[in-house]
């Protein structure tokens, strides 16, 4: 069941025989993984702690480079791109949502979201305008001036999601996006992510929650750094 490409669309990110070692002596976090994420795909990455999920997300998001193997983003081998090229990819093509919301105390929602466009060279006024649009997209139109301590956990994660998608990335990577939320809020966040996916964004969600993973049409299972399963289901898509 390994390395099935269940999408007809051209691949957005491809991992070809990717291995990633960390530290000295090297610990193998990811071992010979081959995976393709098509444009507009929605993939859940599941597996226990230490199975290499976060390493996989770092590699997909070009935050990290493989020890061996190839990572191809937008048709370009990451090995052929320098740090500035990868930064440019992240600025324009990839959005990140983290388990910790990474919001700065004292910064209002609209400015936090506007930071998602900071490294695209967009002037502040335009950034804020687009941030307001993104906040509306995640259902926080009325919370633009609120600061993190005035928002609930679910609202904070919505702000973080708005920040990730304000630049209309082709690929949205979410690392345990519901990990710090209760189940009701978590479900709502997942619904929001799926809405964004339906609007055309490729989505990769890391989770250790199989029930949550089942809501996505494709599940990639990792164990001990190896790709254990890559299943596409039709009933995964939520009603």
């Amino acid at each position: 069941m390994t390395a099935t490409s269940g999408t007809p669309l051209p691949p957005l990110v491809e991992l070809r025989g990717v291995t990633r070692d960390h530290g000295h002596p090297p610990v193998r976090a990811l071992d010979d993984v081959t995976l393709s994420i098509g444009a507009g795909a929605a993939v859940a990455v599941v597996g226990p702690s230490g199975s290499g999920k976060s390493t996989l997300l770092n590699l997909l998001g070009t935050l990290d480079r493989p020890s061996h193997g190839q990572v191809v983003v937008d048709g370009a081998d990451v090995a052929s791109l320098d740090d500035d090229d990868l930064s440019a990819l992240r600025a324009h093509r990839i959005g990140f949502v983290f388990q910790q919301f990474h919001l700065t105390e004292g910064i209002g929602a609209v400015d936090a979201v506007a930071d998602g466009l900071l490294y695209t060279g967009t002037p502040l006024r335009a950034r804020r305008q687009r941030a307001l649009d993104a906040l509306e997209l995640v259902g926080l139109a009325g919370r633009a001036r609120h600061r993190p301590n005035q928002l609930s956990g679910g609202e904070r994660q919505r702000v973080a999601i708005a920040r990730a998608v304000v630049g209309s990335p082709a690929l949205l990577l979410a690392d345990e996006p519901t990990g710090n939320l209760d189940s009701a809020n978590g479900a709502a966040i997942l619904e929001l992510l799926l809405d964004l996916h339906r609007a055309g964004t490729a989505l990769v969600v890391i989770t250790h929650d199989p029930a949550l993973a089942a809501r996505l049409p494709r599940q990639v299972t990792l164990q001990d750094g190896r790709l254990l399963a890559d299943v596409s289901t039709t009933e995964g898509a939520p009603a």
Binding site: S87, R93, G116, Y119
Partner: protein, 396 residues
């Protein structure tokens, strides 16, 4: 799909990030900036006070004039003390360019006491001088109280005290009696300090008439003061020894008191060089403080840096952000310090009644210096921040 737009961070956003970074930890920013402010403030104040004192000195010299020459007897070839001829003053007055001349003569072995009950050994170091009418005009001396000798007082035992002499004798008002050479003398005037003839300050001045009548003054002056036009100072100076003592011009010493003032002032200003050095040490210590603050800040903000890398920041953007923060931090300190130094200078000059003379370029240089210090202090922390891997945002 080929999207090759680069990451871009607008310059004004770099500044915004710097400001936001400082505002997120205001107490720390203020304390770090304070270190810089103290250093810069000390330097600006030192420069401000010394330039103001320089200006005051120049003003003072302009008022006193640099055209006063002092003629004193030197030593004979045999090593004895030379004597100026009694006709020195009229001869000096005849020189071309000379405006006026005056003399005092030390009356040796005469003492002044507050009263006859004072221990005779307690002379207070006050000398008794015979002064002519023109002394105050020529030396630029001013009376602090009372009057100068005149024909009306010449017949009486009267004395004018120099500033220090009056203080040492405890004479606070005109009309007091002092005991001069065992005789009661009335104090008719007290001088203010005489800048160009400080030897008058610890003196009791009697008129030539009184000196001749009562103490057998022979008319041989111990110091002759001479004013000439500004242009002829050098010529007069060259002519004076031969004019005063044609037979032995080498026995005549001519000096310009304003030179002595300038030399003393120059010695004072080496001290401000030392203070300036101390100020720059303070500035350096402030810079080290900023570097330390920035390193701590970088360590604390690993995840923020990781997040920014995830949002598309390049290493250069991260570097620029932290460098901007460090430079802004020192700039705040520098501007604060410049204002502090200016304030200290203003208070100091007002308190001393001087004119404020702080060149604006000093303030500009101070702020420029802080920017350099900030860039230096921020460089290493900024480079460290840029080295933090983008994965730091994910690792908790």
């Amino acid at each position: 799909m080929k999207d090759r737009r680069p990451s871009r961070l607008l310059t004004r956003d770099v500044l915004r990030l710097g400001v936001a970074g400082l505002r997120s930890r205001p107490a720390r920013a203020v304390l770090s900036a304070l270190g810089i402010a103290i250093g810069i403030g000390a330097m600006v104040a030192v420069v401000g006070i010394s330039t103001s004192s320089e200006a005051r000195f120049a003003q003072q010299l302009a008022t006193l004039g640099t055209n006063l020459l002092t003629i004193t007897p030197g030593q004979t070839l045999a090593g004895r003390d030379a004597v100026l001829p009694p006709e020195t003053v009229p001869q000096v007055r005849r020189l071309p360019g000379v405006l006026d001349a005056s003399s005092v003569a030390r009356l040796d072995d005469l003492t002044v006491y507050r009263s006859e009950h004072v221990d005779p050994r307690n002379t207070n170091g006050i000398s008794v001088l015979a002064a002519d009418q023109a002394l105050l005009d020529v030396t630029g001396g001013q009376l602090a109280a009372g009057r100068w000798h005149g024909p009306a007082t010449d017949a009486f035992p009267t004395v004018v005290l120099g500033h220090d002499a009056a203080r040492r004798l405890g004479v606070t008002r005109v009309g007091s009696q002092v005991v001069l050479a065992g005789q009661p003398f009335t104090v008719v005037g007290v001088l203010a300090p005489v800048a160009l003839a400080p030897e008058l300050d610890p003196s009791a001045l009697v008129s030539e008439h009184v000196a001749t009548e009562r103490f057998g003054y022979s008319g041989s002056p111990s110091t002759v003061f001479e004013r000439s036009t500004d242009e002829s100072v050098a010529d007069v100076r060259a002519l004076l020894p031969a004019t005063v003592s044609p037979a032995a011009p080498e026995e005549v010493t001519v000096s310009r008191p304003s030179d002595a003032l300038a030399a003393r002032y120059a010695a004072d200003s080496t001290f401000s060089g030392l203070l300036l050095g101390l100020g720059s040490v303070a500035l350096l210590v402030g810079g080290v403080g900023v570097a330390n603050t920035m390193i701590v800040s970088v360590l604390e903000r690993r995840r923020e840096i990781g997040l920014r890398r995830a949002l598309g920041a390049t290493r250069a953007h991260v570097r620029a952000q932290f460098l901007a923060e460090a430079v802004l931090l020192t700039l705040v300190g520098g501007v604060g310090g410049a204002l502090l130094g200016l304030g200290v200078t203003v208070v100091f000059t007002l308190a001393h009644g001087w004119v404020l003379a702080l060149p604006p370029s000093v303030l500009g240089a101070a702020v420029a210096a802080t920017v350099l210090v900030g860039a230096g202090a921020g460089l290493y922390p900024a480079v460290r921040a840029a080295r933090i891997p983008p994965t730091a945002a994910l690792s908790s």
